[in-house]
Structure formats: structure tokens, C-alpha cells
């Protein structure tokens, strides 16, 4: 629990808390971006360089931009006038605490099965690439097919109306 970890954790919680509780959707997006950056910094602090930087590249560079475009294209920018909390928020808090308890129990009792290592294993990008192309090549190809399908589907959805007939020059 070093000072760096506490600072990064505070930034992350602040960002995600702002994303949940602010009323203006644009403020929520900015808070979400801050939380995602805090998560990436936590990954980097743990020594997982590739994961941390890919988190920035994918989450901040693609997911946050996607949400930004969704807000810009629709007119959901005005703040909600009425109460944005749901009526059953007490049940929600109880459920969240129950999930947290289960996760904490699993992490605490599961961590004894992994032998304690004093030296962090080096995980250069080459190891990840080797694993992706040797051991996990089938999931990689399946994900590639899925992404291609999603891309083609998005293109088809955007091309709903047929191309209008072109008229020759008068």
C-alpha cells in the first residue's frame, strides 16, 4: 500500500464515482475517461506495461471516443431535471455489498493456492505474442472473425437506404 498506489486508487475511484453520480452526461464521460486512465496507471504500476498501454489505447482511444460520438450525435447533452437515482437504490447497495463480499472471499482464499514469488516474472511483449500465436491461436482467430462480423454489420447498418439514382449532367 504505497503512496503511489493510494494516489492512483483515489484517482480511479474519483473518476468512476463521478461517472456514476454526475448529472450531465458529458461530465460523466470525462469522469469515465479519468477512471480508465487511473486503471491503466494501476496496471503500469504493477509492471504490466503492455496491458496498461493497451488499456489506454483501446479503452480511452476507442471506447470513450465511441461514447463521445454517441453523446454528440444524439441530443442527450442536457442534464436530467428529475432525480437520476432509481427507487430501489437500497436493494442495489445491498447487492453490491454482497458481490463485493463474495469477490473478496474468493480472492483472499484463492490467493494461497498460488505460490508466493519474490521476484516478479518478466512479461515482455514477445512472451504475449508467442502465447497468442502458439497456445491461444484458436481464440485469436475466433475473435478476429467476430470483429470482422461486427465491422461488416456496422457498415450494413449504416448503409440502410439505397444509393439514389444518379442523374446525368444536364
Amino acid at each position: 500500500m504505497t503512496l503511489v498506489f493510494l494516489l492512483l486508487a483515489a484517482i480511479t475511484i474519483l473518476g468512476f464515482g463521478a461517472a456514476m453520480s454526475l448529472r450531465n452526461p458529458v461530465h460523466c464521460v470525462v469522469g469515465l475517461t479519468l477512471g480508465l486512465l487511473g486503471l491503466a496507471a494501476l496496471y503500469l504500476q504493477l509492471g504490466a506495461q503492455f496491458v496498461g498501454l493497451t488499456q489506454v489505447l483501446v479503452y480511452v482511444g476507442a471506447v470513450a471516443i465511441l461514447i463521445i460520438f454517441a453523446i454528440m450525435m444524439t441530443r442527450s447533452s442536457e442534464s436530467a431535471e428529475d432525480q437520476t437515482y432509481s427507487h430501489s437504490w437500497r436493494a442495489g447497495v445491498v447487492l453490491a455489498l454482497a458481490v463485493f463480499a463474495v469477490l473478496g472471499w474468493a480472492v483472499h482464499f484463492g490467493s494461497t493456492s498460488i505460490p508466493a514469488q519474490n521476484v516478479m516474472p518478466e512479461l515482455p511483449v514477445q512472451t504475449i505474442g508467442d502465447a497468442l500465436l502458439h497456445r491461444f491461436v484458436l481464440p485469436l482467430e475466433i475473435i478476429a472473425v467476430l470483429l470482422t462480423a461486427a465491422l461488416i454489420g456496422a457498415g450494413v447498418l449504416a448503409l440502410q437506404d439505397p444509393v439514389p439514382e444518379t442523374r446525368g449532367p444536364r
Partner: protein
Amino acid sequence: MIVLSPSNIERIDQIFVLTKHWLMGYVPAVAQPLTSAILSVLPVLIAFPAIFAVTTLLERKGLGRIQNRYGPNRTGPWGVLQPMADGVKSLTKEDIVPATADRWVHFFAPVVMVIAAFLAYSVLPIGRNMVVVNLSSGVLFFFAIGALVEVAIFMAGWSSRSKYSLLGAMRAIAQMVSYETPLVLAGLVAVMATGSLSTVSIVEAQAQYSHYLPNWFVFTPWGFAGFVLFMIAATAESNRSPFDLPEGESEIIAGYFIEYSGFKFALFFLAEYLGMFATSGIAITLFLGGWSAPFSFLTWVPSYLWFFLKLLAITCGFIWIRGTLPRLRMDQLMHFAWKFMLPMTLLNIFAAAAWKFFPVGILRWLGCAVFLAVAFVLLTRGLKKRGDVSVRQYRFAD
């Protein structure tokens, strides 16, 4: 008079590193990590804004001469005090915030943009042993930071609550997102050739000499194509002419930073030019050999001097292109990115992979060059014949 003995040459080459070690000797052990970080970062914070100031003057004079007029020549001899005049002006202008603007987002947008622009310099090897942080995935870090700039542009464009700024922000983000893929793919070939994502390793792989010619990647067919594609994508990423529709003065009156005045406008200006320098710096690292000298008998010149000379050359190229080419329309921009640049970068990756598997010699040079030339000609002819230069069809979203 300094005798150019080998030890003296190395001393001049490493003078900044040696100065830092000497200063660290005077710092108590408890403050060493923080002071080391500050001393590594300070030269970047001083040098690149200074280069920015000089570049604004160079650009205005250069553009002026291209357009057959003098540039600024009233402030000091040949206008050399113009950056100082600009600085004083931007500091003393009134900071106008629109009444309906989103105050905090409006305030933080230029801050985020400048932070992102400065962060990108931390993986650039400016000289031998002169990199702020030697990350093992430095290239990935650089491209990840580019994503932060897009968020800052959105914050600026949205919070101003103005039609022009929102339109400009949408165009700018669409353009930057579209050109990010060719940028990364074009830079990927250098990573493929080196086998490492670390910028220091990429430069060291190019700092070898065969006979007296350097091993820079730009002198290979895939490297040359990659460099050209990277520079085009970099011009689009920094919203520079001919890709500056989101911020062209005659189109949209400065686009996403239309409601910014005074110092915040200067911060945006600074961030844009810093982004340009950072992308040029990565291009120099990936393709032009970083800090290495062009000929093996010129290695006595300090390594940082070569980096800045190459940066100067690329900046002059940017200014030249700005003064020469007309602006691209938004749909022409997008067509160019998705229909030409993306296939070209993918084919370039094929060529780079083929390069590694051919035996060393003239055969692989000819093979890759012919492959890329044929691909380029077929792609351009094919796109032209399909009538992409005709009257465009509007297709509105429902």
C-alpha cells in the same frame, strides 16, 4: 581550442548525461529519485517550447516567401522577436469564456491537450543514452497517448456550446480516428524489422553502418513507403494542411478552439505544434535512424545535433507542404484514409515481412520495390476509375 580526441568527442556527445550525473552527486540520497525525474524531464520542457517559438517564426517567414511576400519583419531584424511579441500578446489578451459554456470542461480541455502532447516526448531517444524513460513498449505508449488528444479535442469542442466548435470537433475527431490506423500500421513495419517495441532498440538497430552507408529503415523499399505513409498520417493527425479542414480559417473559423482566447488559445497552438514535433520525432526514431549520423565518417558530430537537424528538415517539409497543397475536403480526406492509406499500409506490412524472409541481396530489394510500386499504381488507378473524383452523393443518417 578543443582537441577532437575520442574521449573529448564522447564527452561532448554525452554532455547532458554527464551534467545530470554531476548534479545528482550533490543531491542527498532521499531526494534522488524525484530529482532524477525532474532533471530528466526539464530539458524536454525547456527545449521543445523553445523550438516551438522558433518554428512559429520559421513558418510565418517560410509561408510568406512561398506566397511571394515577406513574413513578419517589423519586430526586430528579420522579425526574430515575433515569437516574443506573440507570447506577450497571448498572455495579456482577455480570457473570454462564453456565458453558456461548461466552465470546468472548457478550462481543462487545453490543459489535457498540453499534458498529452508533453507526455509523448518521454519515449523519444533524443541522443545516445538520452531518453526520458526507456519503456520496453515505447512505441505502444506513444500511440496510446495520441488517444488522449482526441478526448481533449472533444472536451474543447463540446464545452464551448457553439455550432462551429461542435462541428469542428466532430470533424477533427473523425479525422484523427480514421488516420490513427494507417499511422500505427505504417509505424509497425519498423517494429517488425527490429523485433522490439522499445524506441531505444529501434534506433540502435539503425545505428549500424554497412560500408559507410547507414542502416536506416528509410533506405529500404518498405521503409520508404512506410515513412511516406507515416508522414501523411502524421500530417492528418496534427490537423495540419492539407488536412486542416477542422480548423481552417476560411471554412469553420478555427473549429474546436473558436471560443478560446488569450492564453488558452496559445496553449492549444502550443499543443498542436508539440504534437507535430512528437510525431516527427517518432518518425525520425522509426525510420530515419534517430540520433545516428548519415555517414560513418560523421559520427563525431554529437548525436542530439543529428536528431534536431532531422527534426528541422521534417518541420521544413511540413511548412513547405502547407504552403503548396490546397486543403482536402472532408469526404476526400476520409476516402483517402480508408480506401488508399489503409490498403497501402497493409501491403507494406506484407512487403516488410517478405523482406525478412528473402536472402540478403539485390533480389529482395528489387522484389519488394516492384511489389510496392505495382500495388501503388493499381490502387491509385483503380480508385480513380471508380469515379471517386466525381460529384459526391449525400447520404444522411436517419
